[in-house]
Each structure stands twice: as structure tokens, then as C-alpha cells.
Symmetry: none
Subunit: 129 residues, 4 copies
DNA sequence: GTGGTCTAGACCACG
DNA sequence: GTGGTCTAGACCACA
């Protein structure tokens, strides 16, 4: 379900964090659903259990998942502090700005990126509807 | 000309290497053209000169650039055109995944983000026309 | 400067986190001041460097310290998101409530606790004025 | 009657052990008096019954309580009056340090906290008079 | 059996 | 020399 590339210079824990956030954002992981256990995930990805634990702890710290001791780790209902509409918009604009800059630096045209984002979304929606 | 995101966990040297390779691959940097000096690049990107120097050294080792002592660093040739198309697509997919993951973690819906990006497309196009 | 009790069931990292927060709260550590290096702290407290690193990372995540790679870890200016006065008060009341409950459970009278808090503050102030 | 803070990193069993010992030491629980049943305590504190059972077993091992099969768990005698005064003071200091650290981390000034606590003193006093 | 803590020690990125 | 990442493996708290 998750994919890690140990050849990539991006730290394993960052890749996994991203993959889980992505899975949640696209609905592959639903609210309340249990994540693989730390050890199982470690086995699946062939990485150290501590690395997985670090990721889970980090995600819990940011409120994306909830861990119940002795039970497991679960996706939790996002509690986005109802941002001011204004601030939300401002942050979105900043974020879009950054995405555009990075895409440019990596040589992706905005069109390609938007296409990719949209096709991703459709694919994911299809899978789970 | 180059873009580095120090918030990204991907090592600075990897980001810079990728950015330079991309610039060469897409012709933004032409064969024979001079790269910014190590110090200039360090100042521009607000990173340490040693980091830039290591990137240049690595690129020289792989034959992508050539350093002429006391003169500067120059683009040498392209060694990686073959893998370009597939590699590019793969990188785009990874990048899109990262964007979606980050957007999700920040509470932005993919729709909002795509809207935002598209509303900026025209402006960006204008810049480069 | 910091004190850890490995006999205490409270995790070492929690004790150290607390000790550092305390040092900052009482002015023992000033804004901008450098914390001992990870390795030095580990030697001083006779604990593993990773445990210290975990604490520093955690404190950075919450914005209490700032780490500059290759340089060190520094106390940073607190950027308490100017809370609404109302909310601040509400949170303080909740916090006080909790403190009272815990003090009660541990058998400390409110008088003793207040005395202790005040004497601590005076002592700290004296030291550094 | 007992208070557990599951947000505190201190293990639940350690918190409960301390709370019971304190209750006995201060006479809130008298010699011969029955403790809540394991299950009742678990329900009250919203923790697992095994955790409570282990605490009771440990307390029995040290001779502080006595379990009569099929009947319940009873306070046996005090074995730790001697260390009480010094221990109590030491714990108060630790507790005060923790409170100061947490208050600092949450952005409350010690003065504000002390004010808040003192303003509540009368109410608390009333409760117990 | 679940996650959490800690250690020891290797290697890397950065200044 | 600084902090960061990762591993392997031990032991603990909790259900």
C-alpha cells in the first residue's frame, strides 16, 4: 500500500510521512481506519521499526493520527481549527505560490502539474467510490 | 534561477543537483555556458558555499560540468537525455504526490488548490512569453 | 545545569524536555542562547545522544528552540500567536484547574504549591538579576 | 478519589501507585479500609483493568495492601512514614518545576498562574472545610 | 501483541 | 564539529 524508495536522498521517514498523508488526503485511508502496525509496516517496507514509529509519532503530534497504546494507530478526524476564511485563503495562495516555484525549478509546466493532480484525484475517487 | 526549499527534508545538495541537471537538460543552461560561481550560488540560495562546492564537484565527477581552475564552472555535455522522458514523468508523479500530501496535511482540498493553480496559469504564462 | 533522574519512571526525554522548558521559563536560558550540543548534553547527563536529539527535535517542532545545522541549537524568541485575551484567560483557567487537581491527587496543599512556585521564581530572579 | 493524567508521560501505573500511597499516607485511606475493586478503579480512571491489577499486585508485594481472594483489596499498614516528610518536599519541588515548565511552554507567566491559583484557594478551602 | 523508550553505533549533510 | 538519519536490538507499559 505504501511505497518507499531507499535510493532517494529524501529521508525514509519523510517519504513515509508523505505517503501516509497522501493516502489520507486521497481517501485511500479513511477516518478511523487503522494503519498497519509499526512492525508490520516496517516489514512491508523493509525498513527499521523505529523509523516507522518516528513517523507515527510525528503524525500523531500533528493530530493526523491517533495512537491507542496496546491497540494500534488510527486515522483521526481532522480538527482543522476553523481557520478564518481570510487566513485560509491567504495560506492557500502562499502554498500555491510555493508549489509553482518548486514545479518551475523542477521543470514541470503548470499544465502538466494540474493535469497530474486532477488525474490523480479522479483515479483515487474512482477506486473508492 | 535555481530554487531550493530548505523546509523540504530532501537534502540541499540533492535539490541543487537536480535543479542544475534539469536546467541543463531543458536547455536553460546551454553546453559551454558558465554556472554561477560557488560563492555567488551560495549567496543566491542562502546556503553554505561548501554545499555548492560539493554539488559542483559531484557534477564534475559525473562529467556533467567541467571546472577550469581560476576561471569557473561550465556545462560540459548532456549525459542523460535518454532517461529524460520517463524520468521526467516519474518525477512529476512523485512531485504531484508530495503536493497532494502537503495540501492534505494543511487542510486544503485538492479542488481549491487546482483552482488556485489554474487561476495563476495565465499570469505565469505571461511572464515567460 | 540540567538534572535527570533515571530512577524516576517518567521517561528521560520527558524529564529533559521539562527541565529545558523550565530553564527557559525562569530565565536560566535566555532567548538566543545556545543549548549544550547534543553530544555534550548526553555526556553531562550520562544518557544517549539520540535521547537528547529527540528532545531538541521535539522542542524545535513546538517552536521553543531553533536548530541551525552544523552550528547548534538555540533558544528562540517565543512567537506566541497573540492569543485572544479571552482565550488566553480561558486556557489559563483550565491549566490552573488541572494543576489544582493534580496537586490534590499528589497531596500538596494549594498553599504549599503557591509558596513553592513563588520561592522558585524569586530564587531564579535573584540569580540572574 | 484518585486522579490520573494520561497526557503526562509518567506511566499510568506509576501515577496510580503514587496516588494510592499518598492516600494511605495522609489517611484518606485508613488501615483496614477496602480499596475500590480492580474493575471499579479501571472504570473510574478509564484505564485498563490489567494496569490496576498490576498496581495492586505490586502494592501487595511491598506489603502496603493485602488482597483477600474473593473479597477485595485492603490497606494493610504504612511502611513509609519515615521518608514522608523529605520525600513529600522533594516531590513538591519536582511538581512545581513541572508546573512552571508547562506554564512557560504554554505562554503563561508565573505571575498570572499564581494569581489564578490564589484566587481559587478560597473556593478549594471551602470544599474541604 | 501493540506502541514507547532507550541504547549503541554507523554514516550523512552542513558549516 | 554540529545536528540528522537509520539500524539493531533490548526492555517496558498497556490491552
Amino acid at each position: 500500500m505504501f511505497y518507499i524508495n531507499s535510493a532517494d536522498a529524501t529521508p525514509l521517514y519523510a517519504q513515509l510521512t508523505r505517503a501516509i498523508q497522501f493516502a489520507i488526503a486521497t481517501g485511500k485511508l479513511r477516518i478511523g481506519e487503522q494503519l498497519p502496525t509499526v512492525r508490520q509496516m516496517a516489514v512491508d517496507l523493509k525498513i527499521n521499526a523505529n523509523t516507522v514509529a518516528k513517523v507515527y509519532a510525528e503524525l500523531e503530534r500533528t493530530g493526523i493520527v491517533e495512537t491507542r497504546r496496546g491497540v494500534g494507530t488510527f486515522v483521526c478526524a481532522r480538527h482543522f481549527e476553523a481557520k478564518q476564511q481570510r487566513q485560509h485563503e491567504h495560506e492557500l495562495r502562499d502554498f500555491a505560490e510555493r508549489v509553482i516555484a518548486e514545479a518551475g525549478a523542477m521543470g514541470f509546466s503548470l499544465d502538466d502539474l494540474v493535469d497530474q493532480l486532477q488525474s490523480r484525484r479522479k483515479k483515487e475517487l474512482k477506486k473508492y467510490v
